[in-house]
Symmetry: C2
Subunit: 407 residues, 2 copies
Amino acid sequence: MSNLLEKYAELAVKIGANVQKDQIVFINSTVDCAELTRLIVKKAYNAGAKSVIVNWADDAVTKMGYQYRSLETLSEVPDFLVERVKYITEVDSCVISIVSGSPDLLKDIDPMKLQKANQAMSAKVDFYRTFMMKNSAQWTIVAYPSKEWANKVFPNDKKSEEKLLKAILDGSRVKETNDPIKAWKEHIAALAKNNKTLNDYNFRKLNFKNSLGTELEVGLVEGHIWAGGGEKSIKGHDFAPNIPTEEAFTMPSKFMTQGKVVSTKPLSYNGNLIVDFFLEFKDGKVVNFGAKEGLETLKNLLEFDEGAKYIGEVALISHNSPISQSNVLFYNTLFDENASCHLALGAAYPMNIKNGTMMSQDELIKKGYNASKTHVDFMFGSACMEIMGTTSDGEKVQIFKNGNFIL
Amino acid sequence: MSNLLEKYAELAVKIGANVQKDQIVFINSTVDCAELTRLIVKKAYNAGAKSVIVNWADDAVTKMGYQYRSLETLSEVPDFLVERVKYITEVDSCVISIVSGSPDLLKDIDPMKLQKANQAMSAKVDFYRTFMMKNSAQWTIVAYPSKEWANKVFPNDKKSEEKLLKAILDGSRVKETNDPIKAWKEHIAALAKNNKTLNDYNFRKLNFKNSLGTELEVGLVEGHIWAGGGEKSIKGHDFAPNIPTEEAFTMPSKFMTQGKVVSTKPLSYNGNLIVDFFLEFKDGKVVNFGAKEGLETLKNLLEFDEGAKYIGEVALISHNSPISQSNVLFYNTLFDENASCHLALGAAYPMNIKNGTMMSQDELIKKGYNASKTHVDFMFGSACMEIMGTTSDGEKVQIFKNGNFIL
């Protein structure tokens, strides 16, 4: 397994963040992921990093913070935390995040505490979220199984950690028999071809329908761009923000979503699971919603700020994607979003519109951009999903049939 | 063992840092010490901490930093690191450090890199060292075995980690059969009585002699205070800076040390071991030195700054102290210094002179205070140590006989 883990670390550094000589590499990790973190640090130095700075956290300590701290102190964000993030935006940096956490780590915590703490942090470091969503630096997200996460995915299984690691590596195209770097270059080229097809159609709107209750129309902004797989930073470096990635995604027009969407996978938000939920939209805004589990968490998500009630991303993934075919429910958006069509509540990516990364926020907003301070993906794809596109001259084109891309 | 570890965590919080309601607790730890760290976090919240902030590091990542980074980049200290330390000095804080590192972690690293990096960091955060040495906040150091450290102490022993943990707990008076909090209160009272005896004699100088080559005279500053065990922060909170602690220590007069001292235990400095070394002093300054191992490291220590060639602390520990009697060589100063008389090269503690914590640095220096930016203890006690004190009216009093306190 350690040979595979080394390949995975190499993939994170070479394809994910695409670390350049003399860049400063920031790694967000938890103490549970020390083994993978150390491998990534080594590969980053081998790639010529000037320095590698690991920002460690620990889920148990994080949870105790929410348990024992008051609402008031959770809303205080020390300046040094802001300074650390500011430093990332000031130097020639790239950022590698390793996710590992339990999907429902914070289920016993007062949701109001989570909301207030998140809002306080967001108010202080929103400049960083904007910086990253504009691809000002290369960034990537990879994963490693914590014991808690593994037990959620493979309950009552003594080999749960081993199994989850295998599923992570498989989904990331890291195998004994292949060169993952080469496999990823080919995969990114295939996704780019897909994006080109969608861009050439220049759809005005998309209509989603399946037998699970979803009947949704999503208007797209004028000049929208389909992206996914590989991206380019403002400085011109290629990178792959998510490992794995299977999606083609673009920018919906903020006020042009209508109808109902029904989730098909649980969503882990703020360390809580939202299960079997639906949203109803009118002129872009969520006007009704429900959930079998985690209703309070869903409510907090929608009330995070004004833009959280609107979508900012629509993404198409075939139901026969490798991650979907693995039949593993990861309870983690990095994986589950690549097994299923999804939407994001909250902010849009400026790069999903022509010249977007060069536009001011006001210019973007005029185009239909969602300027929320949050961005949360949720999954609604299924084997029975049908998607129709409507072009600017009114032509209707079937994009998905029986859950799969057919263009 | 987990019950003992919980007692140890409680000791660190209640006696070590003596965490007060609404204080912010800072913990310096490494990923190897997650288990103890989590227990300390919990106990700190139980004691009423407003928040607990863990500053995690990892020895392997630290070592790679020294291996791969250039001398130049190692000398750059990002502002956010300084801001973090500044924050500690600005709020009502206390600091708990957990040591666990391999005593010779950095033995393959270019000593010049270690020296430059240390000097750069010291220049930026010297305000923090001064803050702590003045007891402006409560602080304490405890320990936990990393695999590497355990293998150094108990080589070729499959149970090395377990054995080292047991030695740490034994040395810290944490046992199945006792209440460590109560044991420590008694122990601190006994050390205070010892300090009072030494203070009442008000020695002008101490003469050390043993059959291993040590023949040293150490002049003490006028108005010196013997301390050790429990201390009081500027804000008036009792605390115990070291767990374990067995020492009585005071302030030597910077230019009044003469003769030769021969080490009796290895010293781990900058992740390197210095073994079987000696120092010769003239008018306080080291004028000659040698070492069987680690001569370059010793040289760097002495050249850290002007004050590093002078001592700043002299400490008396009976050879029959429990840690000494355990016959475990810890290769770690927190333990080894409590098994043996020791000196520190570098800065003195302002509290070791009457009203010292209220004096300016210039006032302190006039009294014979060493204002170095480093402070490194080394051990020279032995079973054959004899110590004579000379009072201000010339009376000679034997303080140690055959390695033990006899006053």
